[in-house]
Symmetry: C2
Subunit: 195 residues, 2 copies
DNA sequence: TATAACTAAACGAACGTTCATTTATATTTG
DNA sequence: CAAATATAAATGAACGTTCGTTTAGTTATA
């Protein structure tokens, strides 16, 4: 029995994400993907049931990678200020080191027909515990979780998008991340969320 | 000489946006769009140069509509608290009354190959003046515009997405907007941005 | 030698776009 | 006023291409 060449799957995944990032879902065709990956079209169907399964699988895997990166050095029991800072640092690091992954996921999140409900249990539990502990300790004001999330993280992702797109606001030079700006934004968020 | 039936263009635009919202850019084909609009394929090419021009035109028009809606009753000279509240109210109103338009624009914004630099001059000028006046009057702390934007509006749009998608955070009942929640979120944003 | 990995070629369907023709109507003509 | 004319709107059929997927056959290795 012949062994699978796992490099094949890896390169297919990479090229697929590249194609989607550069040309959108429109631009991802199985023929073009096969050619770009140096592989026969039929080979793709060994690793993925069909085109939809391919995209879904990409999303699931990238989501998992990001969730893992987000939890590095994160202690749900830590003080709210510290925990949120670690979260910001981890998410920022992942996004800047994996801009294709980030851009791909953003595209999926804003397009229909893909199941976005896949979420790592460990990740959700850690997040939930962190927030509830912080509220109990009065380090965070009590809030509906969506409002908390929208203020704690939406600004960060917006800034990442500014940074990655390099377009910034029209007519200005691009926004680039640095420690000072990150700290400034984070401190404003903390100001909003703390009692 | 025969007159154009402007209803045709309107219905083509509507159906195109519907198709993109429900089936993504993948799902928008000229044949299907023609059928859905009750029109011949060739007719679409009277109103739009090609598929790309169609999508670009949709985006330009929807952007313009939203910019106009955003400026209703907005006075760039007003106090920062008031101005931001009007902005929130206007954007929220537009998004909730035109969820297709909003969802379509979010999809375009997160997909490549479309020129997103089209922006209404009047809109940009009003925004710019509003921010600078507020900083001068010390009603708003001095900030890079991207950081200001990310904190002032990213949370609002994230909440709109929660509301529209009805998926909310996994495993919970959907987030629904009401005046109390809007005011709560806005007051946190103001807390972050005010000196 | 058995078996799964892998491939090239082929399938019908659907794609974006064009073209030759018909239809409707504003304008000109009688 | 009605008939003729001009012209752009509108069409259905057709174009060649590319699409997602399958199939029949080959290759590598446990």
């Amino acid at each position: 029995m012949r062994k699978r060449d796992i490099n094949k799957e890896i390169i297919i995944r990479e090229k697929a994400i590249e194609m989607i990032v550069h040309q959108g879902f429109d631009g991802l065709s199985m023929h073009k993907l096969a050619k770009a990956s140096g592989v026969s079209v039929a080979t793709i169907y060994i690793y993925f049931k069909d085109r939809e399964d391919l995209i879904q699988s990409l999303y699931t895997e990238e989501t998992k990678k990001m969730a893992e990166a987000t939890l590095v050095n994160f202690d749900p029991e830590s003080h709210f200020d510290i925990g949120l800072k670690v979260q910001w640092r981890n998410r920022l690091k992942y996004c800047l080191e994996n801009p294709y992954s980030m851009t791909f996921m953003e595209q999926v999140k804003h397009s229909p027909l893909i199941d976005r409900s896949v979420m790592d249990r460990r990740f959700l539990d850690a997040m939930s515990k962190f927030v509830h502990t912080a509220i109990e300790r009065k380090e965070l004001i009590p809030l509906p979780v969506e409002i908390y999330w929208s203020i704690a993280f939406a600004p960060l992702y917006q800034l990442v998008k500014f940074h990655i797109s390099k377009t910034s606001m029209p007519g200005r030079e691009p926004f680039v991340f640095n420690d000072e700006r990150t700290d400034q934004a984070l401190s404003l968020v903390l100001k909003a969320l703390k009692p």
